[in-house]
């Protein structure tokens, strides 16, 4: 090959690199065989403690749920996972159609007009929604109402810093408010009055942004039903493993009037000369490779494979399956909450508030409780005092369809011991 190029040595091809910059060796260990590689990585994996899913009662934005085998069977097809971003639509119809279906599934679930092809995660989805509201209203204040996931708030603040937006916690929007953002159910699992929050936002001329749990929408009123303008959320529960926090998938959907402000990719239908329907990237003029510094967002990709997993999950579940898992989580959480409230010194942290499948308890010696459960092989509740000073001794418990009734018994027995 060197002869064909017309040079004598490999180094002749590297002459543009100043010799002072050349390094002799890359200071890393020598390469390993596949067997040695896996054995080294397996030994790292073995240094982590994996709690069984049925004994995991910790949520806080990432949940253990039943994942149908169909999900991995589809996402591990190399035609999907080794494909590039679908810039050549004729050779990417599989990915494009799957993502078009994802957009439709999310729009249906949130009861809004249009969803995009997905975002990185729930946190960046919240930040992108705030940016949309800012561009749409020309206003610079973002009001965060109630217990929005604390990491989402942190990401929102980091994004806002760059864009000159102010983030304020509170409930009352004002004349400078671009968006009111609330989470339903909130970070503690509590239900908020989404309709009133939405109406208050609108009365102040602001947009209402609902950060929602996708599974909850099989039971709870979806954002479109109470008039929210933008819905966002984290889609990890739709068939993705916890994987120490990622990769997961963010979603965003909105009313028709806001579609041009949507960040990231959008897939639409298009037809070829013979009238065959295909799928293609749409409204690309919003995006950075054309608009450059005038782009709506700098996002040039989505989390396509995770969106595919979520699509397989939602299609597998169908409306009935999704409702079933939402209801099972609801019932088991309510059964567990009643039993926990009977423990000496334990009480619901917010007795007047309702919840779905995650709920906060106020307990004596919260951190000790979590440690004790870990010793018994249970990944216990989340101690939320870490983020909220006013929530000392408050632990949130989560139940899903993987926490079978015997697992609830084991949890209660461990707490009583």
């Amino acid at each position: 090959m060197l002869a064909a190029i017309g040079v004598e040595s490999m180094d002749d091809l590297l002459l543009d690199i100043p010799s002072s910059l050349r390094i002799k060796t890359l200071e890393l260990p020598a390469g390993l065989s596949e067997h040695e590689t896996m054995s080294q990585i397996s030994s790292l994996a073995a240094r982590n403690r994996v709690f069984p899913d049925r004994l995991t009662f910790r949520g806080g934005g990432v949940y253990r749920r039943f994942i149908p085998a169909a999900v991995a069977a589809v996402t591990s097809k190399p035609e999907f996972y080794t494909a590039y971003t679908p810039y050549q639509p004729e050779a990417s119809q599989g990915t494009l159609q799957a993502i078009f279906e994802f957009q439709t599934l999310i729009a249906e679930l949130t009861d809004l007009d249009v969803a995009n092809a997905s975002l990185y995660d729930g946190a960046t989805a919240v930040a992108e929604a705030a940016m949309m509201a800012h561009i749409h209203t020309g206003r610079k204040e973002i009001v965060v109402s109630g217990y929005l996931h604390p990491e989402y708030v942190e990401v929102l603040r980091a994004f806002s810093d760059g864009r000159g937006l102010k983030v304020r916690k509170g409930t009352e929007p004002g004349p400078k408010t671009a968006a009111v953002i609330f989470q339903q159910p909130d970070f503690l699992g509590l239900l908020v009055d989404a309709r009133t929050l939405t109406e208050n936002a609108h009365a102040a001329g602001a947009l209402a942004v609902a950060c929602v749990d996708p599974i909850s929408l099989a039971v709870l009123a979806p954002p479109g039903q109470y008039g929210a303008d933008i819905a966002v959320g984290e889609g990890q529960q739709l068939g993705l493993s916890p994987s120490y926090g990622g990769p997961h998938v963010g979603f965003i959907s909105c009313r028709k009037e806001l579609v041009r402000r949507l960040p990231g990719r959008l897939i639409g239908t298009a037809y070829d000369k013979e009238g065959r329907r295909g799928f293609n990237l749409a409204l690309a003029a919003r995006e950075q490779h054309i608009r450059r510094e005038k782009a709506t967002s700098n996002i040039c990709t989505n989390h396509s494979l995770c969106a595919l997993a979520a699509s397989v999950y939602m299609t597998y579940m169908g409306p009935d399956g999704l409702r079933q898992v939402a209801e099972v989580g609801f019932k088991r959480a309510h059964a567990l909450a009643a039993r926990l409230a009977a423990l000496p010194g334990w009480e619901p942290a917010f007795p007047d508030r309702q919840f779905l499948n995650e709920f906060p308890m106020r307990v004596p010696k919260g951190p000790a409780v979590v440690r004790k459960l870990a010793r018994k092989g249970i990944l216990g509740p989340l101690d939320v005092h870490r983020w909220f000073r006013e929530l000392k001794g408050v632990l949130t418990f989560t139940c899903t369809e993987v926490n079978d009734p015997r697992a609830l018994d084991e949890l209660v027995a461990a707490l009583e011991s």
């Binding site: 190029i5 439709t104 810093d161 039903q225 967002s297 397989v312 019932k331």
Partner: protein, 495 residues
């Protein structure tokens, strides 16, 4: 062949999957929650049986090109083979089933992996520390610019401009604008490299950073990089490295040594994590000592063999995504680095440069070559020579699809008319490169003999060229309330 949408195949008679019952004594949601809290109508998800679902997605899969089957000569995108061992590593239960809020003592292996990956990336690019948090390249760019902004602010220096070459990736100006900077373009000279005279004229105390990739998007090494770095640093600005082209010189040289202060990397390009049809990727950012205080929280710290997450970083720009990044992608990239080793990574880059120069030579008589060689890991050709026949870069790209090759990147960089940007990577054998060169020759010959055939390509794929203009018109009609079809989603006819 086309495949109906899952919604179009939905059957009302299809039962949902068998799932556990609650099996506890508890109320129904409707007994506890007020009616307005409840969903009025079930969501319109499709109803299909498992075999129908599996066939549906298998058919969709068969309509994709992918690196597992085709050569992707996609310039700037580094489409290498994705080793399957990476996938085996990422799905180990010890990683996949970890909850992000587990106590540190129970995730020492995960933190150790992140720490080791950080050290390895530091070694490859020559920096002090790396944040693994950004989820993608553009996210990494923005994260780096936020750190650079915080650095200047910490010195009471409110700089407002970021310089970006005219050949830069589109995400560069977009990321700069979203960090609140005014973007100023720097021109390329006739040789395709950044014009030092133009750079000199644009540098001022207002400039926060110059964003650069090296080799640049034309595949050319910026020979004067050390002078560029000196000029930039002399004005107090920082030098930012867009890591899209890192595959050109692993183990050969390092951005840190060139004077770059912040470096983003694409694990989905250089370090073989799969593209997934458009993500998830991972875009770690490496920084020199001056920028370390501003890294996103948390960082991974290691003392006496014990690893911990450090949240107490008062000057940090904060958090750029939830948790600790796309951890599953970090596992894959780490597996690749362990398997390759320092020697293997260096060999990969040398092979990538060799392949690009070889392929460039094979097609240099067929297409215009706007810049002198040798190139690094990619080259930019131009279909401008086919203009007399009315054949454009787009036609060449589509004709390649018909010949079972994915298309090169076209119309980028913007500074080359009818650009065709080819990056073969170290994955491809000489035979594959020869076959690709033969396809280019065939297409160029066809441009002269039968240009219409190229305008009609592709003909061997599920659909031909899609009418984007008509699609945009239909979207407008929907958004303006003049049509029912939302175009951007499926909608049932009767709804």
């Amino acid at each position: 062949m086309t495949e109906p949408l899952s919604f179009e195949k939905s059957r009302r008679s299809a039962e949902g999957p068998r799932l556990p019952d609650a099996d506890v004594t508890a109320p129904e949601p409707s007994e506890v929650l007020a009616p307005e809290m409840l969903r009025a109508n079930p969501p319109g998800l499709p109803r299909l049986s498992e075999p129908e679902i599996m066939r549906h997605y298998s058919r969709l899969a068969s309509m994709n090109y992918s690196i597992s089957e085709q050569f992707y000569p996609l310039g700037s995108c580094t489409m290498k083979y994705n080793p399957v061992v990476n996938e085996a590593a990422a799905v180990l239960p010890g990683f996949a089933d970890l909850h992000p809020y587990q106590d540190e003592a129970t995730v020492q292996g995960a933190l150790e992996l992140m720490w080791r990956l950080e050290r390895a990336l530091c070694a490859v690019v020559g920096v002090e520390r790396v944040t693994l948090q950004p989820a993608a390249g553009a996210h990494g760019e923005w994260t780096a610019l936020m750190m650079i902004q915080a650095y200047h602010h910490s010195r009471g220096d409110a700089r407002t401009e970021v310089l970006v070459p005219d050949s830069a990736h589109g995400t560069n100006p977009a990321s700069a604008a979203l960090s609140g900077f005014h973007v100023v373009e720097v021109k390329s000279g006739a040789d395709g490299r950044i014009s030092l005279a133009d750079l000199e004229s644009k540098l001022s105390p207002q400039v926060a950073a110059l964003m650069l990739t090296n080799p640049n998007t034309l595949g050319l090494f910026e020979r004067e990089i050390l002078d560029i770095a000196e000029m930039v640093h002399a004005t107090g600005a920082m030098l930012y490295y867009d890591g899209a082209n890192l595959n050109a010189f692993m183990g050969i040289c390092r951005p840190g040594d060139m004077g770059f202060d912040a470096v983003h990397m694409n694990l989905h390009k250089t370090f073989t994590t799969p593209h997934g049809g458009g993500g998830p990727g991972a875009g770690p950012v490496g920084v020199k000592a001056d920028l370390v205080p501003f890294l996103p929280t948390p960082t991974v710290e290691r003392t006496d063999g014990h690893l911990k997450l450090d949240f107490k970083r008062p000057q940090s720009i904060g958090r750029v995504r939830s948790f600790y990044g796309n951890f599953g992608m970090l596992v894959r990239a780490y597996a690749y680095i362990v398997a390759m080793g320092g020697d293997g990574l260096a060999q990969a880059s040398r092979d990538a440069v060799l392949s690009a120069n070889y392929l460039r030579k094979q097609v240099e008589d067929d297409l215009d070559m706007p810049h002198e060689g040798p190139c690094m890991h990619e080259f930019v050709a131009s279909a401008h020579n086919l203009a007399p026949q009315g054949v454009r870069a787009l036609d060449v790209a589509k004709a390649l699809l018909d010949r079972d090759f994915y298309a090169p990147t076209i119309y980028f960089p913007l500074v080359v008319p009818e650009a065709i940007m080819v990056e073969p990577t170290e994955t491809e054998s000489k035979d594959t490169l020869d076959a690709f060169a033969a396809a280019i020759k065939e297409i160029v010959a066809e441009a002269k003999s039968n240009p219409q055939a190229l305008h009609d390509a592709p003909r061997n794929l599920p659909v031909g060229r899609l009418d984007e203009v008509a699609a945009a018109r239909r979207i407008n009609a929907y958004l303006q309330g003049q049509a029912e079809d939302p175009v951007l989603r499926w909608k049932p006819a009767e709804k």
